[in-house]
């Protein structure tokens, strides 16, 4: 509560007055806001490409208006339902793991007694983030190869039959989610590690005195410290349920698993890069983004009611 405005009701400051009082805040916002307006809001006029037949030479406003033609084509396309299910299922399932595993990593890491080990491990788990998708996909192909892959060699060793992982549709989601976790869990845990190091030491001391077990400390001290950020990340992630790491999916996609791995991202890629269908891809993008935006609004109002954390 701002003391300067906390006066008894009768003398409620006017709106204008409040603005003047907080003029410095507006100044603080200025660079960020200017950037956003110039580089992200201004280009939004380009969204109308979705409603036109964009031809470069005619410019955006010169191109013919076609209304909802591209949207119709999109919704009526043969694989639309499959694309939607694949995209949503992949991300929803993934969301579960991507949000929880980093927290687990951070909390268990925080329990490690040896400080030096802790710091070294912290650095190590952060490195997989730099392994690009191209290399990671290459490594996956090698590890899971039906003839020479390590994984299959193990399976055969224990009497099983070699599995062609890259071909089977049911292996795609675990492979994708697993590899994404491998790449990013350590990276994402940075934030939580930071939050945990900010916890007041005296809380731990008090808890020890009270005879709390380690697990109880986790539950009553560490988790509450992490929950606000966790919730925020969750909300933000809900806005990405229709997106995908297209590059990685394309690398892991084979004709055998495409019934599961074909997602909106790969569909757009086929049209964007290879066929330069700007209007069509813009229309698809607009649909997906709008849905994501609505989803975030919904999730936001839920969390607002639940624990007060909100996006806006």
């Amino acid at each position: 509560m701002d003391i300067r405005t906390a006066v008894p009701n009768r003398h409620r400051r006017s709106l204008w007055h409040k603005i003047i009082l907080n003029w410095q805040l507006y100044l603080f916002l200025l660079p960020a806001f200017a950037y956003v307006v110039l580089f992200q809001i201004a280009p939004l006029y380009g969204l109308q490409i979705a409603f036109r037949d964009y031809r470069i030479a005619f410019g955006i406003s010169g191109s013919k208006w076609v209304g909802l033609k591209h949207f119709n084509n999109f919704f009526n396309s043969f694989y639309f339902t499959r694309l939607f299910v694949n995209t949503f299922a992949l991300n929803f399932l993934g969301l579960f793991f991507y949000s929880i595993v980093p927290v687990l990593l951070a909390i268990t890491l925080n329990s490690i007694i040896n400080e030096r080990a802790k710091r070294i491990i912290q650095t190590i788990i952060y490195i997989p983030h730099f392994i690009s998708s191209v290399v990671l996909a290459g490594v996956i192909y090698i590890f899971f190869s039906p003839e020479n892959g390590i994984v299959n060699k193990f399976i055969v060793l224990f009497g099983g039959k070699s599995i062609h992982f890259m071909l089977k549709a049911e292996c795609f989601r675990p492979l994708y989610i697993g590899s994404t976790l491998w790449q990013n869990a350590g990276w994402d845990s940075i934030l939580y590690i930071a939050a945990l190091t900010s916890i007041d030491v005296s809380l731990y001391e008090a808890a020890t005195i009270d005879g709390a077990t380690r697990l109880q400390k986790v539950r009553y001290i560490e988790l509450p410290a992490v929950v606000p950020i966790f919730t925020m990340m969750l909300i933000l992630s809900c806005g990405r349920l229709l997106g995908s790491d297209t590059e990685k999916i394309l690398l892991l996609q084979t004709a055998g698993n495409s019934e599961v791995s074909d997602v909106f991202g790969t569909y757009i890629y086929k049209f964007g890069i290879e066929k330069s269908q700007f209007s069509y891809t813009t229309a698809i993008g607009l649909v997906l983004n709008s849905i994501s935006f609505v989803m975030i609004l919904i999730v936001n109002s839920i969390t607002k009611r639940m624990n007060g954390t909100q996006l806006f």
């Binding site: 037949d53 031809r55 470069i56 030479a57 005619f58 084509n73 396309s77 043969f78 694989y79 192909y141 190869s145 039906p146 003839e147 062609h164 890259m166 071909l167 084979t254 004709a255 055998g256 495409s258 019934e259 074909d262 569909y267 086929k270 049209f271 890069i273 066929k275 330069s276 269908q277 700007f278 069509y280």
Partner: protein, 512 residues
């Protein structure tokens, strides 16, 4: 510690700003700007490149190059066109859609009016072989793009051929198979007979991919059933010149069933369905693969184990006449002048100068008696520049050369690689096993902008459906049920509409 860091940072900042762009050259000569595409593996040092300097001296025209890597080409071209700052010349890795950019948007200008006056060499080449100019004319009768054509004999199949390890056949005392059944027996023998004689059963009878179009891919084998599929769009031209959908052709199902048989018996490399070309190539290079569709044998950088392989052709499936795909030797337009070009005639003369015979080879191979020279009989032999040639010449994609097949035949000793493929084509043609109408016609027939939009929409889904069905059929086999379901899907994917669009375009173009 902190101070050292700050000092270092300041040093970096200074270094960086000092290495900024140097002063621009002030030129008296005519300067044209060329947006040039180069292959990803090429980085051409424009300042020091011998061929560029040579050309500038010869023609007196200074060129401001904007070299763009092929993989970035689409993005950069779009942005350049959108920004309105057009270069004088666009020299791409492929054709620009003349309908779109020439006729509709008028970003590039028609050039046929200048041919007589400014481009006599080019015109003489056109006159030598008018049929090869089929792809240059847009639907309004004008030529927008100047051709770039690489040396070669006309019907060189640009695509893959099945090869078999002859040494293995000899080791097992087998004849070259002439039917698919014989081939199957051969493959079985390869698997069990240890033909490479090393005591280990490491032979892979057949290894390939399904993602490489019609090059190093399993789809090359469909020619045994008379289906010269391109393995990518899955539409081809039948013997009457009609557009057909490959799965609709008789034999497609049988081909799939055969592949499934191979898969089930362990005669096909399981990874065929997931591996890419590089992996396949390295297996072939190891000498463990018996039958492999591939591009050619010579000059592939893995000569050692390919010396013992031989071209396999004439294998017929029962009841079918084999048909191998063929390519059309035609000139593809690649060089366009934009509407902002202020020196059209000079630019065209500049191009024309590059067509003179010795100039061409200087540009393509480097200085005389380096990578190219005259034989005693006066004919010309050349090698493609290898090693670090980026200082020496503008290789392939950066070049304009229009010898036309006839010219090439008269004047140039084609490299072994070309000769090799020409031999295969001739063998097929003599046996009546060559496709009459090349699939490439479908690539070059002009389509209206609306048609292109529809085609793109339809094709993406068709490709997905076919690839999935092929993969599933190979691993699990084809049943009446699965086949009918697939046919059903194809109907729903508007295959017939696609066919009729192309058929109409083809009929209207007069190419057949």
């Amino acid at each position: 510690m902190k101070r050292i860091a700050v000092l270092l940072l300041a040093l970096v900042l200074c270094l960086v700003t000092l290495t900024d762009v140097g002063p621009a050259l002030a030129e008296e000569k005519l300067t044209i700007s060329v947006m040039q595409s180069v292959r990803d593996i090429d980085t051409i040092d424009v300042e020091n490149n011998w061929a560029i300097k040579y050309l500038e001296e010869k023609t007196g025209v200074h060129v401001a190059y904007d070299m763009v890597k092929q993989s970035d080409w689409n993005t950069k071209l779009t942005l350049t066109l959108a920004s309105g700052a057009l270069p004088d010349v666009i020299w791409g890795p492929g054709a620009l859609d003349a309908e779109e950019y020439g006729i509709l948007q008028q970003l590039v200008i028609p050039l046929d009016g200048y041919l007589e006056e400014c481009m006599p060499t080019l015109k003489s080449r056109f006159d030598m072989e008018p049929a090869a100019t089929v792809a240059l004319t847009a639907s309004d009768g004008h030529i927008y793009g100047l051709p770039s054509y690489y040396f070669g004999s006309p019907a060189t199949p640009n695509d893959g051929i099945p090869f078999i390890q002859k040494a293995w056949l000899d080791a097992l005392n087998l004849e070259m198979p002439k039917t698919v059944d014989e081939l199957t027996d051969v493959l079985r023998a390869f698997k069990t007979g240890d033909p490479n004689g090393n005591g280990i059963a490491d032979e892979i009878p057949l290894s390939s991919t399904i993602t490489d179009g019609a090059n190093c891919s399993i789809f090359v084998l469909f020619s045994f059933w008379g289906i010269p599929t391109d393995g990518r769009t899955f539409f081809s031209l039948d013997e009457e010149g009609k557009v057909t959908f490959d799965p609709y052709r008789p034999g497609f199902r049988d081909a799939l069933e055969w592949l499934n048989l191979l898969y089930a018996e362990g005669l096909m490399d399981v990874e065929t369905l997931t591996q890419d070309v590089s992996t396949t190539t390295s297996k072939i290079a190891d000498g463990v693969v018996g039958l492999f569709p591939f591009w050619r044998l010579t000059q592939m950088n893995i000569d050692a184990n390919l010396e013992t392989a031989a071209h396999l052709y004439g294998v017929a499936a029962e009841g079918y006449t084999p048909k191998m795909h063929t390519n059309l030797g035609y000139m593809t337009p690649r060089i366009y002048l934009t509407k902002d070009n202020q020196h059209v005639e000079e630019t065209l003369r500049w191009f024309d100068a590059q067509l003179e015979k010795e100039t061409m080879f200087n540009m393509y191979c480097g200085p005389k008696d380096g990578n190219w020279h005259y034989e005693e009989d006066g004919s010309l032999s050349y090698f493609s520049a290898s090693g670090d040639w980026s200082q020496l010449c503008l290789n392939v994609q950066a070049m304009l050369n229009v010898p036309t097949p006839m010219y090439a035949a008269e004047n140039i000793n084609l490299s072994a690689a070309y000769v090799e493929k020409a031999v295969y084509v001739d063998a097929h043609r003599e046996a009546g096993m060559l496709q009459t109408y090349p699939n490439t016609l479908l690539k070059i027939v002009p389509l209206s902008a609306d048609d292109t939009y529809e085609i793109n929409l339809i094709l993406a889904d068709i490709q997905t459906a076919v690839q999935e069905f092929v993969s599933k059929s190979i691993t699990e086999g084809v049943t009446d049920e699965s086949w009918n379901a697939f046919m059903d899907i194809c109907g729903k994917l508007r295959v017939d509409e696609y066919i009729s669009i192309y058929q109409n375009a083809l009929d209207a173009s007069g190419m057949i």
